[in-house]
Symmetry: C2
Amino acid sequence: MRDLLTRAGLRATQQRMLILGGLLALRDHPTAEQVHRQVAAKAPTLSLGTVYKALDSFVVAGLVKRVAVADGAARRYDADCSPHHHLFCTATQEILDYRDPQLDQLIQEFLAARGFENFQPHSFSLHIIGEKIIRSA
Amino acid sequence: MRDLLTRAGLRATQQRMLILGGLLALRDHPTAEQVHRQVAAKAPTLSLGTVYKALDSFVVAGLVKRVAVADGAARRYDADCSPHHHLFCTATQEILDYRDPQLDQLIQEFLAARGFENFQPHSFSLHIIGEKIIRSA
DNA sequence: CTCGCTGCAAACGTTTTGCAACCCC
DNA sequence: GGGGTTGCAAAACGTTTGCAGCGAG
């Protein structure tokens, strides 16, 4: 735990080691609140605010990722219900549409061929993270 | 506008027509707040609460979709930074990991071959929406 | 005429902030 | 010892809810 943190350039405090350990222990994709509960047993005084701050620095350091979910607060809507994918620009925070029937078909065929043991997919969407290119010239 | 609403089985009120029109006019993927601002010029008394309720019913009716984003409130974290995809269960709200190097390669090759005009991708993640199958037998 | 929708405002849950005390480096 | 981190509490933020009055069907 200590190594993971120091290697990421973060100060290895008691709290951060517990929080990172708690996050790793939770195999689901927990919220800050769930991580806090997980850790509360070992460190009753560790505050929820600290969990938020720690998770934030983990994300910045690249130790941890945020999972994109469609529920929760700060929702965004899309009036276009035809199948399409999204390009997320890390620079401008823009979300651009990307439509590509060939890609749809490719993925669909792959998933159909592969099959899942205990999951019945009915749709999918590819999130492509990157940066918009500003062409000069 | 009226047709779209009635065909979706919704009551075509003044406010809903304006809200749906505003959402369609915004080509980005706006938040409820942004839709409200867009509509405010035409209908200053239209309240933000109404926008929320209208957008909700649009989503239920299938007229509009929610876009999954990693920022905003109700965040979820993932300590696993290795490339993997997510299965979203509509029944249990669970988020299951799905790891498939072959799929990764397939998509990566496709994107590389296709290329983008003004976007430099650096990672991607497939969101597969469906339902967990409870096997009885 | 009825039932669903609107507007308002208050409530809610989650995340962020400010600041003094603390402790890792 | 110094500067990043913690804990606490307050504030901010986006969203939801309750309810009286309104209006589409």
